[in-house]
Symmetry: C2
Subunit: 314 residues, 2 copies
């Protein structure tokens, strides 16, 4: 049964198109309309069938929608909110899928009219691919979708949005926005920056190592390249808008890295061994929390069905 | 057909036990004997059937073997080589599976008697698990196995070892040891150190973030924990013995990281966007080189059969 009668997707990339597929599959939306700046993207959305109708402007797209999903880069949220505000239906819910929450709230909330519910959100799901053709219905299955409702948010509106997200397969949790931004700086933003950096270093060394960096990438580096292949615009905006928390975690990171670097230089094997033993425990916690399996095969399913995954050594 | 009549595995962890399984499956060894320091590991090896016989000392294990595989941490290679040297059969081949090659050669080569072939090697394969029960026959399938034969190595002995490795499913390549150590510092050693560091930082923050770091780890951090769960002793030895190359790459890494950190602090979005766009290309190279697929499912095979993998966003 449809949870919303008309859903307007503003931005038609990986997340929005996956939402459309999931809503279609579950019959969760009466009608799905959309807007993207690029005519090519709009045409693709119609062709694939993720939207029933598309509009050249976000303002037109939100008319009569009871759910509006802002699925554009974080840096573009404020401008879109200003544009759509006069056209939002009374009682409508506006949510977003941005990776940073404080900055989005600061940019969007002031534009939201009385009687419209703004409920910020963030699905912890994605792939290294982007664009309207990259979506698929099961993207959110068993993934977390964090909501950071502002004080005084309407409980009924939150419950309705939650039921949509759960119907798409997501596990929903709520927290306040500053806390969200700190947790994500640790679990996502800083790891991404580090992965980008390491891949950049390897790229610089290509002249020294020829194609060997790519050839022998299975030995750990490959996981970094996967992370570092994500959408550049989205990530630029994440770092610019979650600046404080990212710089704070980066500071701690370089401090610890220097301590390990010093241990290597001084040949302090005990320090290294102790550190590496401690980090093993957190991995076990993740497996126990059901966020990964002990025997994944990441990408080699046809080959390693009989054994644990190919996390490379050496 | 058996390529070696008697293979002696010194050290019975993930790599050695996987070799045993693969050799059994392919009928590649007449007999497999082994040694491990721990009585429990030796008993497990007999119980699982990866060894026909086990010995309390490495010296006893190598008697009459035409292939000896040193599968102990890099830091233990020299001592083992000294112990087994007087007991090696004339014409035998000794190889190792260490992640660093110059240090292993320096530690082992001086002990190798005239008439015995020492051919250093390094399989780029592994999992986050260790011990004799973690091995499986397909670990090396489609993975690189690098050989760094010393000048004047016997071509016949190298070809015979290569045929064994290929029969276990590996792709074999040869290079010189210093080059190996530099390439691996980029593709494996530095990424591992960085992953260990990031996981350590997250562990420190657990008090702030409660269990949320683990709960929401799918957003990038999970890949780091997988890398950082590898065997602490092995990795301690890697960093202590590939010190120069690792410190060199680490230096470049922190230099680049500081440049990105500065761009975040100054709000220089163009610098970030340009950097992130460049790193996307190296990922494409890896997919084209067949070292990964564009649509992996790393660990969610039952869920995402219809779409690309779950590399988490934001």
């Amino acid at each position: 049964m449809a949870i919303y009668q008309r859903v307007a997707l503003i931005g038609l990339g990986l997340i929005a198109s996956s939402m459309a597929h999931a809503m279609r599959q579950g019959g969760l939306a009466g009608e799905i309309v959309g807007h993207a700046r690029s005519a090519e993207t709009r045409a693709a959305a119609l062709e694939i069938g993720i939207c029933d109708r598309v509009f050249e402007t976000a303002a037109e797209a939100v008319v009569g929608a009871d759910l509006v999903v802002l699925a554009v880069p974080v840096g573009a949220m404020g401008e879109i909110a200003a544009e759509i505000a006069p056209h939002l239906a009374a009682g409508a819910t506006v949510t977003d899928v941005g990776s940073v929450k404080q900055a989005v709230i600061a940019a969007v909330q002031p534009h939201i009219p009385e009687g419209v519910h703004f409920i910020p959100g963030h699905p912890l799901a994605g792939t290294e691919h982007s664009g309207p053709r990259s979506g698929f219905a099961t993207l959110f299955r068993n993934r977390w979708w964090l909501l950071t409702p502002c004080e005084g948010a309407d409980p009924g509106a939150v419950a309705r949005l939650r039921s949509l997200l759960e119907a798409m397969g997501a596990n929903v949790d709520t927290m306040d926005a500053p806390h969200h931004d700190l947790v994500l700086a640790v679990t996502s933003h800083t790891p991404h920056l580090i992965a980008y950096t390491m891949v950049g270093v390897a790229d610089d060394l290509r002249r020294v190592t020829d194609s060997e960096v790519i050839r022998y990438s299975a030995a750990g580096f490959r996981d970094f390249t996967r992370i570092a292949a994500s959408d550049p615009t989205m990530w630029r905006d994440v770092f610019l808008t979650n600046k404080e928390a990212t710089l704070e975690i980066l500071g701690r990171f370089t401090e610890e890295l220097f301590a390990l670097q010093r241990a290597i230089r001084l040949g302090d094997g005990d320090h290294l061994h102790e550190y590496f033993t401690r980090t093993r425990a957190i991995r076990r916690g993740i497996i126990e929390a059901g966020q990964d399996t002990a025997a994944p095969d990441f990408g080699r399913s046809s080959e390693t069905a009989t054994g644990p995954g190919p996390k490379a050594k050496g």
